[in-house]
Symmetry: C2
Subunit: 250 residues, 2 copies
């Protein structure tokens, strides 16, 4: 049996957002590898082994997947959203580079998915409709000064900004610092969207100004979208529409 | 009949990347609206009217779609990739804001898709595996100095960068200017990926250094990915793997 390794994005939560390409890979797999809540999304069946592991063991998980693929298994490493955005694809290739040369011959494919910021944007309008950036707010793997510098330059560039992993129990303070930083460089009316658990039954969407934003509005299931200076609100009954126009002035 | 309007992302080209959510909307539609090459992707069937229009008429197209939805039609506006990334969603909401108040009551849904930069990244490894930004290089709707400033700040922030719409027959020179700008602020070994028509039969992927890059390597079907200073190449037989590590130093 010839093994292979697929790194697949399951999208933000709604099964109707899982691409047919990913569904086909899951149907052919012998082994599923991933963080517990993502592996939980895969239906058990005979012949399929589920390997669910805890957070922060990405490299161990990657090596395990590579070893199984080399031994002839058909392995799918599952990520939520898109695997190339703050997820398992980068960890996998880190393991490949550091591992035996034979790992470079393994049939590895990355299957893209709908990443959280784009799902969140779609639910509220088109806040990322012009130039934008994505910043991982977790300081597990980079120092806070790098995050602060990037956030400052992103505001200077007038990007709309998506913040991934804004806040967790082990990192309760970073997002508050980010809000303080933004208050120093943006007008108080700057638009923020707190999009939690988008496309799942627990979804919540909240549109506030920077002046109204508090750290408690975010947790690990939230992606925070920060409008550019041009981002606009269209009021209507219920949740407003938020969009960023396609044009920009000098 | 109650009309609705869906703005749907068809993904980068491969039909296996169209989400089931989008397929379901297409199956229920009475009218498909969009740019000619995207509408061409929709199979004709009885009861479905295809309204294919030329490029650069986004607002007319949006108004037409809104009028039909208000008249009770089930309208899908199709974009390639994700509709919220340099595509029809922003134009649609621009039309809503400028239009009659009654348009704000139309049932409008944006259905996300796999955007070109993420499909391209998946095909080559994980070059967007850390903080990154997306810049539309078309100067149809923004002056060149805004593009140049954003590109410079993005390099200072050490983002990986995705350039959409790098070059067209009507804008032959901008991408050359962008390369000149990059040569002034990045090392000559900076990694660039020219990803053309990803996931289609015409796909081509090319990994070069900034020193090797030429304007002719890009056209309107190309998305250009520029690595951060940390982006790495893993050599192997055939196309190398390119990835950006998850960690960053101060």
């Amino acid at each position: 049996m010839t093994g292979w390794l697929v790194v697949a994005g399951l999208g933000p939560g709604d099964e109707a957002l899982v691409t047919p390409q990913v569904s086909a890979a899951l149907a052919e797999a012998t082994d599923i590898v991933g963080y517990i809540p993502y592996v939980r999304r895969i239906a058990p069946r005979p012949g399929l082994t589920l390997h669910a592991t805890d957070n922060r063991v990405e490299l161990d998980r990657a090596r395990h997947a590579l070893e199984m693929a080399q031994a002839g298994r058909r392995v799918v490493v599952v990520s939520s959203g898109d695997p190339g955005v703050f997820a398992m694809a980068s960890a996998l290739f880190e393991a490949v580079e550091a591992g035996p040369l034979s790992w470079r011959c393994i049939d590895i494919r990355v299957l893209p998915g709908v990443t959280a910021m784009l799902a969140a944007a779609a639910r509220i309008g088109a806040p990322l409709g012009h130039d934008f950036c994505a910043i991982n707010l977790s300081d597990n793997l980079k120092p806070w000064d790098v995050i602060a510098r990037r956030l400052t330059l992103a505001v200077q560039a007038d990007f709309a900004i998506a913040l991934y992993n804004p806040r967790s129990a082990s990192r309760p303070d970073g997002f508050g610092h980010a809000l303080d930083l933004l208050r120093g460089v943006c007008e108080p009316g700057r638009i923020l969207i707190f999009a939690r658990a988008v496309t799942t039954p627990e979804e919540s969407l909240r549109v506030v100004t920077l002046a109204e934003a508090t750290p408690e509005m975010a947790d690990m299931r939230t992606v925070v979208l920060i409008g550019s200076s041009a981002t606009r609100i269209i009021p209507r009954d219920g949740t407003p529409i938020v969009y960023t126009p396609r044009s920009a002035a000098s």
